[in-house]
């Protein structure tokens, strides 16, 4: 059987707090941001208490030590996703990662870049962070944005993949797992089609890296982005991973100190990756915190985390299916499906559903989840979303199900 996860809960100070109605917090909003174990909080704090100095710049001991732990964090995060150290770029968030790569790919000085008439492929279930940067890039260079549709069950519709990914395609930007539906996309088919036409694949791994083992070597994508704050790490840190050969060909998107090879008033040349992409004094304490998070979760084991969340998801979906007037939005079979469960309650607006749950200490997210086009496609004004991480447990799912079953009565909506 799987590990007993109950002992991990204690590591997360916030999970002890009381919220509305005097209830202990039942945090089911990890899809938005995860909670942090004390060991991560302390790693960040202790960086400030003992090693804080500007990395790569100082001639003094503390600066040396700061550089050591910062670069150590990079190696550690690289190991976590099966990457080489020099391929890992620290950003402030997945959003920044995706925007940066879009700027780089749009820069005519990059050896690999977009031209007018080229095509960018996304999907109907992208988070705004993996949609709008590409809309903007398309607009800037005169490229065309096209997209995969989704099926009624909330799977990616690959039926027109051969038309969508064609000779004009330069970029395919796709989510690894939908933050609304929980759908995990069939990546192998997509990377194969993209590479066959010489396009690069950018993976939005915000909802995958925190929840199951991701190895960039096996995925065969070209770029990957995720946020530290969803993988038990601090806010203010994200990762952009890219294949070394490609990073080498790209102009950076952010300019300033520590990323140059030489500078005159007229112009500048760049250092090598990852330095080239990290302008300015970096978010050092946050990198150190993320490194601690990655250690913490690796110690437990990503496969076990995935299994644990799988079990909870299964329990939740079958429970919801048994409540009348409740619709699960997204795949209900567990194949290629992660721990994000959207649902609606007939006659009750998601915002009101969320408010009701909040009264019982249950924290969920409601609304369009930054995936507005997907909501339109599904003809929904929004959903209520429960999402898991390793600190959740069966009893919390039971409380959620029990509370959901009473919502229609409270709002006096007829059966």
């Amino acid at each position: 059987m799987s590990v007993d996860f109950s002992r991990y809960k204690n590591d997360f100070p916030i999970l002890k707090r009381k919220v509305r109605g005097g209830n202990t917090l039942i945090y089911l909003d990890s899809g938005a941001t995860s909670q942090k174990p004390e060991i991560v909080i302390e790693a960040e704090a202790n960086f400030y208490r003992t090693k804080n100095a500007a990395v790569h710049r100082g001639a003094h001991l503390v600066a040396e030590e700061a550089s050591e732990v910062y670069e150590g964090a990079r190696e550690n995060v690289a190991r976590f996703i099966g990457a080489k150290s020099d391929e890992v770029i620290f950003t402030k968030s997945a959003t920044e990662s995706l925007n940066l790569i879009a700027y780089s790919l749009g820069n005519p000085e990059s050896k690999f870049h977009l031209n007018s008439g080229d095509e960018i492929v996304v999907s109907e279930m992208e988070h705004h962070a993996n949609l709008i940067p590409w809309q903007q890039l398309a607009k800037r260079v005169g490229a065309k944005l096209t997209w995969f549709k989704i099926t009624d069950e909330g799977r990616l519709d690959l039926s027109d993949i051969d038309k969508l990914i064609n000779k004009k395609t330069k970029i395919v930007a796709i989510t690894h797992q939908s933050n609304v539906l929980g759908t995990i996309v069939p990546l192998a088919q997509i990377t194969k089609a993209a590479h066959a036409v010489g396009a690069v694949v950018v993976l939005d791994a915000c909802q995958s890296v925190p929840h199951f083992a991701v190895d960039v070597k096996k995925l065969e994508v070209d770029f990957l982005a995720f946020s530290g704050h969803k993988v038990l790490g601090p806010t203010g840190i994200g990762v952009l991973w890219g294949k070394a050969e490609l990073l080498d060909q790209l102009e950076p998107g952010l300019f300033g100190g520590s990323m140059v090879d030489s500078v005159s008033m007229q112009g500048a040349t760049w250092a090598k990756a990852p330095r080239k992409f990290e302008a300015g004094v970096p978010n050092m304490a946050q990198a150190v915190g993320l490194s601690a998070a990655v250690d913490y979760i690796s110690e437990i084991g990503m496969d076990k985390v995935a299994q644990h969340e799988h079990d909870l998801t299964k329990q939740l979906i079958s429970g919801l299916q048994n409540i009348s007037g409740v619709q699960v939005i997204g795949p209900v079979d567990m194949k290629d499906r992660g721990g994000v469960v959207s649902f609606t309650v007939d006659g009750v607006h998601p915002h009101d559903v969320g408010q009701y749950l909040d009264q019982f200490g249950i924290a969920v997210r409601t609304g369009h989840h930054c995936a507005w086009p997907l909501m339109r496609r599904l003809n929904l004004v929004g959903t209520t979303r429960a999402s898991f991480h390793l600190y959740n447990d069966e009893s919390e799912v039971k409380v959620l199900l029990n509370t959901v079953s009473k919502i229609k009565d409270y709002f006096k909506v007829s059966k």
Partner: protein, 144 residues
């Protein structure tokens, strides 16, 4: 429980049977407002007769608070003079910002006092204000 102070019976009634919902054929102006963080949307038609609010009609999607509030707003402001409507609007905004410290003026706000509890739920204040802000925007445009 605390939640009952938010979801007053009056509010749920208005939510289930909203007043003045359904856009009029005629209008002096139409405005569209939304709340991007939760996706609530409202379209509002306003007809003024000089400084008199002659008709308000609206359509929209949103939570019980936003829809009920638009319903109550229409009831309250139709047939009022602009100046009076502005006073009522001001009183409603003040109630929303009262952090649970005010009951609201029942003479002026009528069913609107049912929203007093919203002021204790900061994330819901913008829901309650959606329709009111649409009216304010529309009226300002017609008047000037």
């Amino acid at each position: 429980m605390e939640l009952d102070s938010l979801y007053q019976e009056v509010i749920l009634d208005h939510y289930r049977s909203p007043h003045h919902k359904g856009l009029s054929a005629d209008k002096d102006i139409q405005v569209h407002h939304n709340n991007p963080s939760c996706g609530d949307e409202i379209t509002l038609n306003l007809i003024m007769d000089g400084m008199l609010v002659k008709d308000i009609s609206w359509d929209g999607v949103g939570c019980s608070i936003s829809m009920a509030s638009a319903s109550v707003m229409s009831d309250l402001l139709i047939a009022k003079r602009y100046e009076e409507a502005t006073k009522i609007l001001g009183a409603f905004i003040e109630l929303m910002q009262s952090k649970g410290q005010s009951q609201g003026d029942e003479v002026m706000l009528e069913d609107g006092v049912a929203f007093a509890g919203v002021s204790k739920f900061p994330a819901r204040i913008k829901c309650a204000l959606l329709g009111w802000m649409a009216f304010k925007d529309a009226a300002t445009q017609v008047i000037k």
